[in-house]
């Protein structure tokens, strides 16, 4: 914050300055065949400087806190500003009187935790994963990683926001083999301090997901009811959340641009973005411009209720920021969701599956970046999972795609599970039953 304030103090008359300072410490330990494959202990810092004057904006960043580099960034930002087209909505955020929530996201215990014990967790994760089942032939990776991040934002308009968060993560990719066939499975556990982590769950999930894919076949093409596992639905909801950015709407790149007030999802679907929910791995009390984050209901009972805004998109829309500026130190703030979830239902995944005569449980998808077009809404991804027959889990299936459109999928949500699960991404997962998707296989 001292550095941010120093730079803000360099503003000249008629100029707005915003300075973002980020400091991160990370540890990553990987285990392989009972040894420490690699151990990374790293510290990084960065500064982003945004200058606004005469309705123009310029930006520069540097990956060090050295005075010469920061001064160079300020000079570059001013120079860059002179090439921008004036825009009356440009400007840094103004304090809006909303107090930042007091969130408990920092654990001193993480910083104090000995590196040796972090390494031991990675080794134990590998050992446990290999011991779950005889058919686990190896691991692709078993790792422990954590980060301690601190962020400060200061502006000439009077914003002073500082936040710090800790997070840690265990993940394992297991390889299962039988009769010359290999399958993979992913398991993880996350928390704010090492004590939150459950090595056994991560190991068991990785092993079970890999072994249950053994003997998998390519399914025939057709139309089927699909059950999205939380890991998959979180990725889908993250994409949906992305289309509700005020910036995408204003730039004519959101398929929901003209749909406020319309029924865009099944009546049971309520979608909320709430970075103040401490359960969210991505929780944060302040946004990328230093304003308080808040709970925003995006879709209420199927009806599109709200887009998310930063201060600039809010000014353009004639409204107020929803505290949804998202950015790192190396970019200007965008407007986007941070912690999206749907309000869960009453039934477990097993209960939901029991009610399906003919369908597929999707446990993994691939190619979300290449086969989903968030502007047109076309949705097509590679998939693997378990066939459901007569309410029972049947044979594993792989090498097929599932396809629909984002618009259709939201309307086709038939049921929502009770198994809400926060994941290391901007959305929480929950089991979703989608009425009908096209399966492309043989």
């Amino acid at each position: 914050m001292d550095l941010a304030e120093r730079v803000v103090g360099l503003a000249v008359a008629g100029e707005q300055l915003e300075v973002v300072v980020v400091h991160e410490r990370e540890t990553e330990a990987r285990a392989y065949e009972g040894e420490v494959e690699s151990l990374t202990v790293a510290e990084s810092r960065g500064v982003g400087v945004r200058v606004v004057s005469g309705n123009r904006q310029g930006f520069a960043y540097t990956g060090t806190l050295d005075r010469d580099a920061v001064d160079e960034a300020l000079a570059e930002a001013r120079d860059n500003m002179s090439f921008a087209t004036p825009d009356e909505h440009c400007g840094v955020a103004e304090p809006d009187g909303v107090d930042a929530a007091d969130l408990d996201l920092y654990r001193v215990s993480l910083a104090d935790h000995p590196t040796d014990e972090k390494v031991a967790m990675a080794l134990e994760l590998e050992r446990l994963t290999l011991s779950v089942d005889d058919r686990i032939t190896g691991i692709e990776s078993a790792e422990y990683s954590d980060s301690i991040s601190e962020k400060a934002v200061a502006t000439t308009t009077g914003i002073r926001a500082a936040s710090r968060e800790t997070g840690c993560f265990l993940s394992a990719y297991a390889l299962a083999g039988q009769d010359g066939e290999t399958q993979t499975g992913f398991g993880f556990s996350l928390g704010r301090e090492p004590g939150d982590l459950d090595i056994e769950i991560a190991a068991r999930e990785a092993a079970e997901r890999a072994t249950r894919m053994l003997g998998s076949v390519k399914p025939p093409s057709g139309r089927l009811t699909v059950v999205l596992d939380p890991w998959v639905s979180a990725q889908f909801l993250g994409i949906v959340g992305g289309t509700l950015s005020g910036e995408m709407v204003q730039k004519g790149r959101s398929l929901f641009a003209d749909r406020l007030g319309d029924d865009v999802a099944a009546p049971g679907v309520t979608l909320i973005d709430d970075p103040t929910d401490v359960c969210a791995f991505t929780a944060s009390a302040t946004d990328g411009e230093g304003l308080a984050t808040r709970r925003n209901v995006l879709i209420a009972g199927g009806r599109l209720d709200r887009f998310v805004h930063n201060s600039q998109t809010a000014r353009r829309a004639g409204t107020v920021s929803t505290g949804s500026a998202v950015r790192g130190y190396s970019s200007t703030p965008g407007a986007g969701v941070r912690a999206v979830s749907v309000v869960p239902g009453a039934l477990s995944q097993a209960d939901l599956v029991a009610g399906i005569d003919d369908g597929i449980l999707i446990q993994g998808v691939s190619g979300l970046h290449s086969g989903v077009n968030p502007v047109s809404g076309d949705f097509s991804t590679g998939a693997e999972g378990i066939r459901i027959r007569g309410g029972e889990m049947a044979e594993p299936v792989r090498e097929f795609t599932i396809a629909s459109t984002i618009q259709r999928m939201l309307l086709d949500i038939e049921a929502i599970g009770c198994d809400l699960q926060w994941l290391p991404m901007k959305a929480a997962g929950v089991t979703l039953v989608i009425g009908e998707l096209t399966i492309s296989g043989t």
Binding site: Y32, E33, E35, V36, E37, S38, L39, T40, V41, A42, E43, R45, Q57, F59, T62, G63, T64, L65, A69, A73, A77, N80, F83, T85, D87, T137, G138, E140, Y173, L175, T182, Q183, T184, K218, K251, G252, L255, S331, T332, S366, G367, H369, S370, G371, V375, S376, D378, S380, T381, G382, R398, E399, F400, T401, A403, T438, I439, S440, G441, T442
Partner: protein, 473 residues
């Protein structure tokens, strides 16, 4: 034209590097390495009808790697003073925890290595106003091509990256890597909703790229792609022959087998291609090469990020798997030389095995005849990235411009979607390759959270059977 062909200048003095490496080896490690990087970049975005912003960035620092036994210790620092380097070296050494202890003095050889790629006009010497002017021209061309173009985003970006690598084997080398990128993203709106079109060009060259590349033409092609898809029909669903146009298919090989031929994944048996060297893995018409030396291409470098000269590596020769791709660590364990494929996103990252420019050798078929010879299938003119599970070989890739083939003719354009296949099977199912050839769009390949620039290229080719992931019956 001014050609900057000088060897990359030293960034840190050899004695500072040698002392740093000596500190790193202090706990009895077998190998230590300093990777120094200084990267300047600029990105200009024209969006929503105006110059939205210019962003300048600077990143400099060093990554210290220490290997003891099976363990790699890594630390990085933005502090390039002798003290900053020494504390990072000690942190990396502590992480690797070498057993023996003792002192091993490191001395460095004379600076060696191939010269950096020639650059005609250094981007840093070009006024920002000229870069911005390119954006405006591209925006106007895209919008001018049809009233249905409702949004255009144009980006110009360049970077100037200097690296220096020194290691305990005495290696001292460096490189200067310049990249220039220009991309156009259009949205077209019609009765059936919105569609998108993208086009980009990128080279390891300077501003002279724009002597060859007409940004207005590039913009019109991106716009044309979005407009075309306004009339697109839903993609078909199921298995069928797929013809891929020149340049497009590189992504297919990158995913179908490229990642599976990376020695780190092979060593962990996390690749379907493990243990298959010398075997027939593809149709005999398939020869696949990874070549870091291709002049001007997006994945080009004089040296990799471990200081090893880039080279041309034949991976598959007439259907036979000849070799994997190697980094320093994996190569050492096999008692062989690295293939120049040890790359990293930046000084904050450990190097690992990565592709550079991957391409398929030409065949002798006529591209038009390949289409004429296909009764029913899909023609993919532009691909949009992909993903693979190397352990199972299942891979996907996206299509962002594609058409139905009916009775040997291209008919309706089809909507975006993924195709899915299994790598080893797909390589065997390639039944014809044309004599044309083109490099594809500049790509960023992601692996373990690190992105590195890669290029790829192919002639027109046909895969006898792939699964198209659309919604139409």
């Amino acid at each position: 034209m001014h050609v900057d062909n000088d060897a990359a200048p030293l960034m840190l003095a050899p004695d500072v590097l040698a002392e740093t490496l000596t500190s790193a080896m202090g706990t009895g490690a077998e190998f230590a390495e300093v990777f120094v990087e200084d990267r300047r970049s600029i990105s200009a975005l024209f969006d929503d009808g105006r110059v939205e912003e210019l962003t300048s960035g600077r990143d400099r620092g060093a990554g210290l790697r220490v290997v003891a036994g099976d363990t790699t210790g890594f630390a990085h620092t933005a502090d390039l003073s002798p003290l900053g380097l020494r504390s990072a070296a000690e942190a990396a050494a502590a992480a690797a925890r070498g057993g023996g202890g003792g002192v091993r003095q490191v001395s460095l050889d004379q600076h060696t290595g191939p010269a950096p790629g020639p650059v005609g006009i250094m981007p840093g010497d070009v006024p920002k106003a000229r870069k911005v002017a390119l954006l405006e021209r591209a925006d106007a061309a895209a919008r001018g091509s049809d009233g249905a173009i409702t949004q255009v985003a144009v980006r110009y970006a360049d970077s100037h990256r200097r690296i220096q690598v020194a290691n305990s084997d005495g290696l001292l080398t460096g490189d200067r890597q310049v990249r220039t990128l220009f991309s156009v993203f259009c949205v077209a709106s019609g009765d059936m909703g919105m569609q998108t079109g993208r086009e980009s060009v990128g080279h390891t060259l300077g501003f002279e790229v724009f002597d060859e590349v007409d940004v207005e033409d590039l913009a019109r092609r991106a716009a044309g792609r979005a407009l075309l898809k306004l009339e697109a029909v839903p993609a078909p669903s199921g298995e069928m022959p797929v013809v891929i146009g020149p340049g497009g298919g590189g992504v297919l090989f990158h995913e179908a087998c490229g990642h599976g031929l990376e020695a780190d994944l092979v060593a962990k048996s996390a690749s379907v291609f493990a243990g298959r060297r010398g075997e027939v893995v593809a149709a005999p018409i398939v020869t696949l090469v990874d070549d870091g030396t291709m002049p001007g291409e997006w994945g080009r470098c004089a040296i990799d990020d471990e200081g090893r000269p880039a080279q041309r590596n034949v991976l598959i020769d007439e259907g036979v798997l000849t070799d994997y791709m190697w980094d320093h660590l994996r190569a050492c364990r096999e008692g062989r030389a690295s293939s120049g494929n040890g790359r990293r996103q930046g000084y904050r990252h450990l190097p690992m095995v990565r592709m550079t420019n991957t391409y398929l050798g030409v065949g002798d078929a006529d591209p038009d005849e390949i289409i004429a010879d296909t009764a029913h299938g899909v023609y993919v003119a532009q691909l949009g990235g992909g993903q693979v599970n190397t352990a199972t070989g299942d891979f996907v890739f996206g299509m962002t411009e594609a058409y139905m083939i009916e009775d040997g003719r291209l008919t309706n354009p089809i909507r975006d979607g993924n195709l899915i296949g299994n790598g080893p099977q797909t390589l065997l199912d390639i039944d014809v390759i044309a004599g044309d050839f083109a490099m594809g769009s500049p790509g960023t390949c992601g692996k373990d959270g690190q992105g590195v620039p890669v290029g790829d290229g192919t002639p027109t080719l046909r895969v006898a059977r792939l699964t198209v992931g659309g919604t139409a019956a």
